[in-house]
Symmetry: C2
Subunit: 350 residues, 2 copies
Amino acid sequence: MTISDPQSRPRGATLEEVAKVAGVSRATVSRVVNGSPRVSDDVRRSVETAVEQLGYIPNRAARSLVTRRSGSVAVVITEPTGRLFSDPFFPRLLRGISGGLSTRDLQLILLMPEGPADTERTATYLSAGHVDGILLVSLHGDDPLPDRISRAGIPFVVGGRPLRTSTASFVDIDNRGGARSAVEHLLAGGRRTIATIGGPADMSAGVDRLAGYREALADAALPADPSLESAGDFTQESGSAAMERLLATRPDVDAVFAASDLMAAGAMAVLEAAGRRIPQDVAVVGYDDSPVASTVRPRLTSVRQPIEEMGHEMARLLVAAVEGSDPVQRRVILATELVRRASSAGRRVP
Amino acid sequence: MTISDPQSRPRGATLEEVAKVAGVSRATVSRVVNGSPRVSDDVRRSVETAVEQLGYIPNRAARSLVTRRSGSVAVVITEPTGRLFSDPFFPRLLRGISGGLSTRDLQLILLMPEGPADTERTATYLSAGHVDGILLVSLHGDDPLPDRISRAGIPFVVGGRPLRTSTASFVDIDNRGGARSAVEHLLAGGRRTIATIGGPADMSAGVDRLAGYREALADAALPADPSLESAGDFTQESGSAAMERLLATRPDVDAVFAASDLMAAGAMAVLEAAGRRIPQDVAVVGYDDSPVASTVRPRLTSVRQPIEEMGHEMARLLVAAVEGSDPVQRRVILATELVRRASSAGRRVP
DNA sequence: TTGAAAGCGTTACCAT
DNA sequence: ATGGTAACGCTTTCAA
């Protein structure tokens, strides 16, 4: 049984009580607690002793009331289903954010609005100044949040490049470069008819990976060919469907670059069912380097992303903005790494 | 560029200002805002108009200071690596929790302590009464948190059965029943030498799934046999290692029940490498019904868990405890569902 | 039903 | 360097 009446919980010492024990004023205790230099060493020591003895912990609400800071930042995840339930992207990102915040005394408030009405509530909450800063993750093109909160003047950092040009700071993973490296790898393996299964067109991750794919082909002097481009929503099912469309129109395909591992897995199943050998007939490369990549057979070559680092960097930028030490727009792009596995072994031995 | 000085943000209307506009006292506005019945309809309407007009939003810190409630609950995830980075368990759980909280005006504070020192900080923070309630997830046996916070008198609900007997409320998924259903399914398929790859012995999910496995065998009058029991830590690598040990000591195994899909996938790879056909020679069943289950070939039979529902229920219980309407211990066990796929097709057609 | 006033625990300004 | 004191915005008696 847990005691629930807040009145019945031990109240916790106040500044006043610490002051009495230390034989000084409230103001002095406050200075010590907040690390002000304008305190003599003697007094500091006796206050610290009293704090220790009483187990004093500052009351955040009282502090917040006068400082006008909440001591918390919000992480807003607006993801319908896709990525949320498929790969461990968010836990890893949250871990990174949490780590990046832990040096400061900032709490992480997690907001996962479901549906437009909920998003509206969230926008109101955020605009009300209940948090000192905001981390926006997995933004879709039409999301009203960036506008709302920038109008409210709350510092925020976006995870992933915002689709619409904006002055917001953001941290992104080099989707274009990652896609390029994947396609260049396929080209180096002797592939020439390289299809892609792209992501949603309303997310920068989708758009940028497609751009990287096209760039790599252009650099190899291969013509852009819409019949080699298909799209999904990052899920396995959408990958299967896209692969079926591709096989129907371009049976001559000899490689596929999928914008997510799950889509790649879906595509591999379809290829297998169609009697294509991987990688002999068709090479496959995915994106994310999720657990699935080392589970499918053959193992999937994939683009690994520094997700924890992304979270960490987002937190760092936000902290800087919140503390007012860095009001300018920052754009950070983190590099990817291609993890080579069996699914894309080259046609000819190098 | 984002404005960061809190002073420069629009201050937001206060009770005082609303009172002035509505021509009433602060106290009355407070009553209206908090839905007190002791207000005349006339006054209520004019106050509501003023609130609307001024866009008034209560200051949580001020409210919190006097009510001694923070309006927030913490979710503590203490997971070293295992599950956190492998399957989408946490995003789904968080989604469920978030949904269960959204009816009340409670914010979700996410805490992901890394390492013992961080856990200590977390315990202090939680004990300080900065949150109204706590959700504890993925507890390991030696976690000091339950003790600390129950001593501090903060209401909390545990996700997953606590290993040590405790008086805490918890919501669990029927691990024993889920494991039973998996093993019974294997028995029904004509398997008789059924091995298991269990989870960590310091987590109830590990312990209970092992218990369910043993129960099902006992019910079928099959003797318990330690040489058929191996354990991992839910990761794919540990599943492979466990399977290798099993094959070495029990080459006659004709079925494997793994306590996670990733371990099952690891086991399948080892079986394949050993030339065993799945499911003809060895049937395999996993646990979690994660994306991996429908990605491996053959597709993996697995035990599906109502994870969102678990989160939702945890939130519900906590809210009840926080609001003081339900101080007694509650134990909720949610049922699982066996999802049959190719990896465990019966030996003889039924 | 409504209002006046007393806090809630801090910070920060102004003296000293 | 230290202390007194006025906010901060709200809820909650207590009277009226």
